[in-house]
Subunit: 283 residues, 2 copies
């Protein structure tokens, strides 16, 4: 039976790290602060906001809420971003997306100061991830995958890693981050020929396709480490990953659960980035 | 015996395409123009400059030479770039690198207008390659690899491609471009475990490590298409690729030669980008 890589354990370690760093910052008179910028009242956004706020309280990171009406003009939104950029008391900004359709998201997101872009949404952060130059921050989900691998001492160097999925927020940056850690990285996707054997060949599997339980027993073998990024709701209303957990559990060596895996770590990564940003801005 | 994928054939086809587009532009009163910006008198730069100039003449693209002294100040170099950005008669800019050590290359290269960045050196172009959004231009060498695959009708979709090497100018963008064309892409490198079998598993091999003839018979199998990006000088003064050509020739199905392969196509890609840029700027 596989060892379950529980997100809670990683969160605990990350939180301890963040608390320590937040304390050090406070001792210097700096209150690490995350601004959450929300446009409108989308349920998903509000629910993630609640989660971050609760976690932030735990780790002594202050939250500043900026809530704009769903019909905010682009100029007003950009003004709000520029105010946050200019505010030395705000160290990181989390802006929920997608933005309402009347706003040019590509234009707006790049108005954020990359130094405060703790969720890796600006082009400057993207360049940092692609080039492996540690400027800016990587998006939180692939960062959470790396935190999990690191926390559980999974050796990456020289290993074969496969990333199933090639989105800009998870798949591609995850591939670059694994490459940076010296893995041999394969990016697979819906057009891959014989996906089961491609996945089976890998030592480390990052599943980020967004299709409920599509990675079944025939994709897997003993010895593998499986990081399941997927969060899918079944017809019965259950929350499941991209991996068929019950099948995988009996085959692979290590696997993250859904829920309770990557998702829960993401929030702490956001907050870790905030204290790092606060430190960078107060060197 | 492998079929040799001769660069000259691709160049001929590309040149015909460029000539046609250059003619169409001239008919509209637009003279497609490439500015070559050189700092100092490096032999490599001067030799590439000569090659581009000769090829440009052939395809009716005008060249504007901007030559600055090796001790040029950063301000003067940036001024030169900004003048080219502002000049509506210049459509593309090729700036030789590396720049002399007293210049901040990262700062300087990003002063170039991405619309004129026909060699893909700005961060904006890098983001375009990584995201697969066709803004800006990809660097010329990986673009040349794609032109060769396309010219010889190599099917890419669903194929396993391995890129050996992960540089920012060749390996990483080549991987992204293959991914964009629906290949399953593996990025391998010096830390890869059992590199021969990783390479052997691929249908398409892009060799861009920069080590003379390191890819030998045991990395190869019948059925493969091999694109050799390497240009290495042996102790005997011979020009060889990253692939042991004489061994590969008897094993794989298709292979590019060195010299006369990718390198020669690169120059025409530069010029193709110039006419595309001229078209984009005059829509």
């Amino acid at each position: 039976m596989a060892t379950i890589l529980k997100g809670a354990e990683v969160v605990e370690a990350l939180n301890a790290e963040i608390i320590k760093e937040a304390e050090a910052l406070r001792a210097e008179g700096i209150e690490p602060t995350l601004a959450i910028l929300r446009v409108g009242e989308r349920g998903d956004d509000i629910s993630y906001e609640k989660g971050v706020t609760k976690r932030a309280e735990k780790v002594n990171v202050a939250i500043r809420n900026v809530i704009l009406p769903v019909d905010v003009s682009q100029d007003d939104l950009v003004d709000a971003i520029e105010n946050l950029n200019a505010d030395s008391k705000v160290h990181g900004v989390l802006m929920f997306r997608p933005l309402p359709g009347h706003l040019d998201e590509d234009y707006v997101r790049n108005k954020l100061d990359p130094a405060k872009d703790i969720d890796g949404i600006t082009d400057a952060s993207t360049v940092g991830v692609f080039t492996g130059v540690n400027s800016g921050f990587a998006p939180c989900t692939p960062s959470a995958c790396m935190e999990i691998l690191e926390h559980f001492d999974v050796s990456i160097k020289g290993k074969n890693a496969v990333v199933v999925g090639r989105s800009l927020v998870v798949g591609k940056p995850a591939a670059m981050m694994l490459l940076e850690r010296q893995a041999t990285v394969t990016i697979a996707h819906s057009k891959t020929t014989d996906l089961p054997s491609v996945v089976r060949a890998a030592d480390i599997v990052i599943a980020c396709v967004g299709r409920a339980e599509m990675i079944t027993a025939d994709y897997l073998r003993t010895g593998q480490v499986v990081i399941d990024v997927g969060i899918n709701v079944t017809e019965e209303g259950a929350l499941v990953g991209d991996v068929d957990f019950s099948a995988a559990e009996g085959i692979v060596d290590f696997i993250t659960p859904v829920p309770g895996g990557v998702g829960t770590v993401t929030t702490s990564v956001n907050l870790k980035h905030v204290v790092s940003a606060a430190r960078n801005q107060n060197k």
